[in-house]
């Protein structure tokens, strides 16, 4: 059977891993390759890099980082952030990324999902969805979770699959940063709506939260950032808790 995946996420700016994506009071945490190496040695099943630099010049730095990562990191890795065109997708895959994540650009132009998956296969196209709960259901949010598009997140997940997404990276805007666990109803609703793997994100404050999302939903993977970066818990500790709780994970 396929093991449930534990994925650390690194926000990268100016070739440094930084804390937080809100652009306010960013703190530099370290070199992205060194940190990713450390996580893969701890048993991370995959690594996600999110490029949060704002300019095109800075994007070139990310391409260089991806090239280094491809030869130094021996687990799969995804690169997202600022992916707007098929050229961005091509550049990152050619540099050695295993998968490319797209978010706002895919909402504005779903054809980007179609073109990318037709050219490179759907296994390497990850559509990231930031969702927030409203009275009439979950809405797709853009601009770092601040702008309401009014689009139904569950319907959008289905459409993204139809356009050729190979995986959904689902972040709960409500749970993000709160550290009380993943948004279980949202996660299960999206898992039920699609036939592609879903990665749950947002809300992790404790290793138990991973075990909980795997036991209470059919999600394929869980992603977290701060609990790993702040050395609160290692990937290994998260895996030990999951294993104890009977979750099928990769043992290293």
């Amino acid at each position: 059977m396929i093991a449930k995946r534990i994925i650390p996420c690194l926000d990268v700016k100016n070739n440094q891993v930084v804390k937080g994506t809100n652009f306010v009071g960013l703190r530099e945490l370290g070199d992205p390759i060194e940190m990713a190496k450390g996580y893969s040695e701890q048993g991370a099943d995959e690594i996600v890099f999110l490029d949060i630099s704002a300019t095109n010049e800075a994007r070139q730095t990310i391409t260089e980082m991806v090239k280094k990562c491809a030869v130094n990191i021996h687990v799969p890795f995804t690169v997202g952030g600022g992916v707007r065109t098929i050229d961005d997708v091509t550049r990152l895959l050619q540099a050695g990324a295993d998968k490319v994540g797209m978010n706002s650009a895919a909402v504005v132009n779903p054809d980007l999902i179609k073109q990318s998956s037709e050219r490179f296969g759907n296994q390497c196209i990850v559509v990231a969805i930031d969702a927030k709960k409203f009275e009439d259901g979950w809405h797709v949010m853009t601009h770092g979770g601040s702008k309401d598009t009014g689009i139904d997140a569950i319907k959008w997940a289905k459409q993204a699959e139809t356009f050729g997404a190979g995986e959904i990276l689902l972040t709960s805007v409500d749970a993000d940063g709160v550290k009380t666990g993943f948004d279980l109803p949202l996660t299960q609703a999206v898992v039920d709506a699609v036939r592609i793997p879903v990665i749950a994100s947002g809300g992790v404050g404790h290793p138990d939260h991973f075990a909980e999302v795997f036991k209470k939903t059919d999600v394929s993977a869980g992603l977290a950032a701060s609990i790993f970066h702040e050395n609160t818990y290692t990937v290994n500790e998260v895996k030990e808790v999951c294993k104890r709780e009977g979750v099928f994970i990769r043992e290293t």
């Binding site: 491809a70 021996h74 793997p197």
Partner: protein, 199 residues
């Protein structure tokens, strides 16, 4: 020197680095003279079977690869493993290199496809060199798999049906998953392949 066949199908940087890390000189080439000089041939690949065979044929490499596989250690990885077989049913029936009898067809399962993620190997009893990998986890990304005679199957993984994970016929090896993305286990598999064919 290990030669990785460069035929424009997928990124090979990490495969190259995986062998370099084991202390081998690696060349990435589609030049037949270089391939003939190499100690080992590695055929990587990501994408569609038909497109891959077209690339191989347009570079005039098909007959040379078949001839090389008869004289040197030859390793197909991912799509490169599927190309070792007689034919594939992906999109339309397409002939492969026919180095191992068998047909590549869609995985029959109730689980999600593609088969993506870390799955556990079961090693066949006849293949002692790889026995230490029994129950090890490796990283898969594929939708099609090879149906072949059990005598060629070195390892399987379970995904609603048995998935052919590794094959061997004499000096010809195939690995369906990605050793270069399978952490230390993947590096050990490549090492075992190199040791097996050097004896």
């Amino acid at each position: 020197m290990i030669a990785i066949v460069d035929y424009g199908m997928g990124n090979v940087l990490s495969v190259r680095h995986a062998f370099e890390k084991l202390g081998h000189e690696v060349s990435l080439t589609d030049d037949i003279n270089q391939l003939k000089e190499a100690s080992h041939i590695v055929l990587p690949g990501v994408g569609s079977f038909k497109a891959a065979m077209e690339e191989i044929e347009s570079r005039g490499l098909k007959n040379d690869l078949i001839a090389l596989a008869k004289t040197k250690p030859f390793l197909g990885i991912c799509l490169g493993m599927q190309l070792l077989f007689t034919a594939s049913e992906e999109v339309e029936q397409t002939a492969g290199l026919n180095l191992i009898p068998g047909v590549v067809r869609k995985i029959k399962t109730d689980y999600l496809l593609p088969h993506i993620g870390w799955n556990q190997l079961t090693i066949s009893h006849e293949h002692h060199a790889f026995r230490y990998l029994d129950q090890a986890f490796v990283y898969f990304v594929h939708t099609y798999q090879a149906d072949t005679d059990a005598k060629y199957v070195v390892a399987e993984a379970e995904y609603g049906e048995p998935i052919t994970a590794m094959v061997r016929r004499n000096n010809i090896f195939g690995i369906q998953f990605h050793p270069e993305k399978s952490a230390d286990v993947g590096a050990n598999i490549l090492k075992t392949f190199l040791e097996e064919v050097s004896t």
